[in-house]
């Protein structure tokens, strides 16, 4: 209903107001993001504190004497009130100091830095393959609803969607690394100071697994978005104006379909950022997810916090980026973004 009320006058004010939109949008989103990060840190800190046992028990185990426990507690500063511990940690964060790992005593940044890089590379390479392939497949399938490709995509999506990532990973290892046709390294272990991306072969299987497991949902989403767009009035009009199919797809349909699909992409990549644990375990991939799980098991609160903050910040950044991209691709969304 609202769109009918767009008078010339209102259109102009809206347009003028919108000239500064990226900066304003970004600023607003950054403020919200900061608030979200604050809440995330609080939630995670106190949730971790609520776990049974603590890092001191974990370090000293059953051989601990009360004196040792007390001493280690004091050494790690765990004898202070929770709020003080949190504030201490938080003031560090404001100076971009993530603190030191309670178990190893090394700075969290050092401990997590390499793993973060490894995860980022994994997600980035996955995205670099996943996004173009999913968008291409989804778009092609959308061109002929009910066509062969459409059914193939849906079918493959359902099958892959129902396979846990680790099963896909293990099957790929059997197939391509150990038993059937061993052409690839079965795990992503690296030696010494080598980085996992120094030998691209090491990344093939994890990336392939992630691409295969993330593909179905994204492809389906792209397919739906493009299909809906292709059925729209303006596409029909473009066809009736003699505009070629290729041009209709690329210039008329895709930009409008990109927005919603990007949202799904961001969702997928966010999931990969913090959720590749099983893959990391299957391939012994030195990433953030397994470090996170270990840190939870060790009750290494500073490491848990550090990883979660990094993942959350990256996710928020990703969503911001996606919203900006979406707004650029389909300008109407900026009207809705506010």
């Amino acid at each position: 209903m609202l769109k009918e009320k767009t008078t010339r006058g209102r259109a102009r004010t809206r347009r003028e107001a919108s000239t500064g939109w990226p900066a304003r949008l970004v600023l607003r989103r950054l403020i919200t993001a900061a608030a979200i990060l604050l809440v995330v840190s609080l939630v995670v800190f106190f949730l971790t504190q609520a776990l049974p046992g603590d890092v001191v028990h974990q370090i000293l185990g059953q051989t601990a004497t009360d004196e040792q426990i007390a001493r280690l507690r004091a050494e790690l500063g765990l004898d202070r009130p929770l709020v003080a511990q949190y504030l201490d940690w938080f003031s560090g964060i404001l100076r971009l100091d993530f603190g030191t790992s309670l178990t190893s005593g090394t700075p969290v940044a050092d401990l997590v830095g390499d793993r973060m890089a490894a995860t980022l590379v994994l997600v980035a390479v996955t995205a670099a393959i996943l996004l173009p392939v999913a968008f291409t497949l989804g778009t092609l399938a959308a061109r002929r609803p009910g066509g062969v490709l459409d059914h193939l995509v849906s079918g493959a999506a359902t099958v892959l969607l129902s396979l846990p990532e680790f099963v896909v990973g293990i099957l790929l290892v059997l197939l391509l690394a150990t038993n059937i046709w061993p052409v690839l390294p079965p795990t992503s272990v690296v030696s010494g100071n080598q980085r996992v991306w120094d030998d691209p072969r090491l990344m093939v299987l994890p990336v392939l697994t992630l691409v295969l497991t993330a593909m179905p949902y994204l492809t389906e989403s792209v397919k739906t978005a493009v299909r809906d767009e292709l059925a729209s009035d303006h596409i029909r009009w473009a066809r009736l104006s003699g505009i070629g199919e290729r041009r209709i797809l690329l210039r008329h349909a895709l930009p409008n379909a990109v927005g919603p699909s990007l949202q799904v992409s961001a969702m997928t990549l966010t999931y990969l950022l913090g959720g590749t644990v099983t893959i990391e375990v299957v391939f012994a991939y030195p990433g953030l997810g397994s470090a996170l799980v270990s840190a939870v098991a060790d009750r290494d609160v500073t490491v848990v916090q550090g990883i979660v903050m990094v993942v959350a910040a990256l996710s928020l950044l990703l969503y911001l980026l996606v919203d900006l991209l979406g707004a650029l691709a389909a300008p109407r969304s900026k009207g809705r973004a506010g």
Partner: protein, 525 residues
Amino acid sequence: MPGSWTDNARRLLIPLMVPLMVAALASCGGSPTESPTAQQTPSSPANPHQGGTLRVGITSLSTADALDPAKVSTAGGYAIAGQLYDTLTEYGTDGKVTMRLAESVEPGDTADKWTVTLRDGAVFSDGSPVNAKAVRHTFQRIFDEKLPPSTSMPYVDPAAITVVDDRTLTFTLKEPTVLFPEALTSPTVSIVPEGFTPAKPVGSGPFVLETNKPGTSITFTANTRYWGGKPYAERLELISFEDASAQVNALIGGQIEMASSIDPSLVPVVKAAGDKYVVDSYATSGTLTWQMNVKQKPFNDPVVRQALRLAVNRKELIDQAMAGYGSVGNDVFSPFDAMYNKSLPQRQADPAQAKKLLQDAGYTLPIKVELTAAPLTSYADRLNEVFVRQAAVAGFDITFRSVDSATYYGDGYGTYPLSMSYWGFLGIFDQAAFTIVKDAPYNATKWQDDEYDTLYDQAVQTVDDAKRADLVHQMQQIEYDRGAYVVAVFLNAINAYSTSLTGYSTYPNTDGGNGYHFNTIGFVS
């Protein structure tokens, strides 16, 4: 249960190997006359060559692995310390105490005076000599800084360590302890030079540190000055695997040459992968033992404890949960100890008898119990499952609660009526001192028996082998009759190697692949 965050619990058991009690020096000779299981160690056919990078997959590295040997409390830390540092004594390939940096560790007239003579020519990786001063410094540092070994070696008086000459020093202990040489096998009392700092980990071990990525991997280069001769491998990498399957896959994929302590169920996987790999399995004194808490119902009643021991089918546990890789236990520890009581009749599963015992004692069956355990090894859960099932036949309704290790050792620790522990790699006295005698620090069963304690006190002072053996047999008879541990199985060390390696051996009283002795392993030319 996969992986090694679950193994976190396991690595915590290593400090239990910190030996402290009295030892029988004289018992150094001889190996167990009867191995609990047939050994299938292929002997190393060819001589190792110098050079190459040896990559070892282990499932236990963690960020808590300390580089300071005195702070080592994790399996990964233990593995690392074994490369960087050296101890005065160690458990050898036969499971008995042998000398390392020490040439000899001799008691004086009484067991409270000990003379340690150092090996000639041992140096630290920075070139400084391993001398009496360094040894004294090592102990003084531990006690000055109140490092963990100080509490586990309360009988050591740091002020009463005298440097006699460059290679000789004497210890005057606060109380007589004939197990002193055994205590010195602990990596936490590795010898470090004066001015040692973990930031620059200088030791006299076979390797020196190259790079360390905590919890991920650690790389070493051969120590050319190592007293035992330069290690065969030029470089050594320890690579962490969260998942037992990934570790084996890495071996099959040629990414590591050795998979240390693999899961028994993965043996067929290695074997199916072809003849480029060997699986080396040998019996050890390590065990996953169930602990019945006698302060809690229903195990305050010896009849119930006896019934549960009778309920267990040990052979079936090994066949089903450990793919046959293990040896049957008889509810007493330390099968590699020369004084192990072999005359005790092997307890056989008899659930009917167990049930009858319980019913005769007036119990209404089933008896409900909760079993609390952390996944100590990749197959601990499996053992527990089979155990629960076996116990059910005898009238126990056991609920198995699997928790992570931090939870396990948290507030509830000590209150679990039934729990599981990873023990072993110790002699009978060590084990008793840790877990059985009165005031034993790590006795999760809370079991205490005056007769047993008297026997222990006598035995620990008895110099005569035969007499002491008799006392030990009586101790084990008591454990067998009314103890609170269910020692049903002993674990095999199962290591998988590429056939390109040679030089591995057995270390039945030491955890880890090849007892973490990687300097003796090298590539076949």
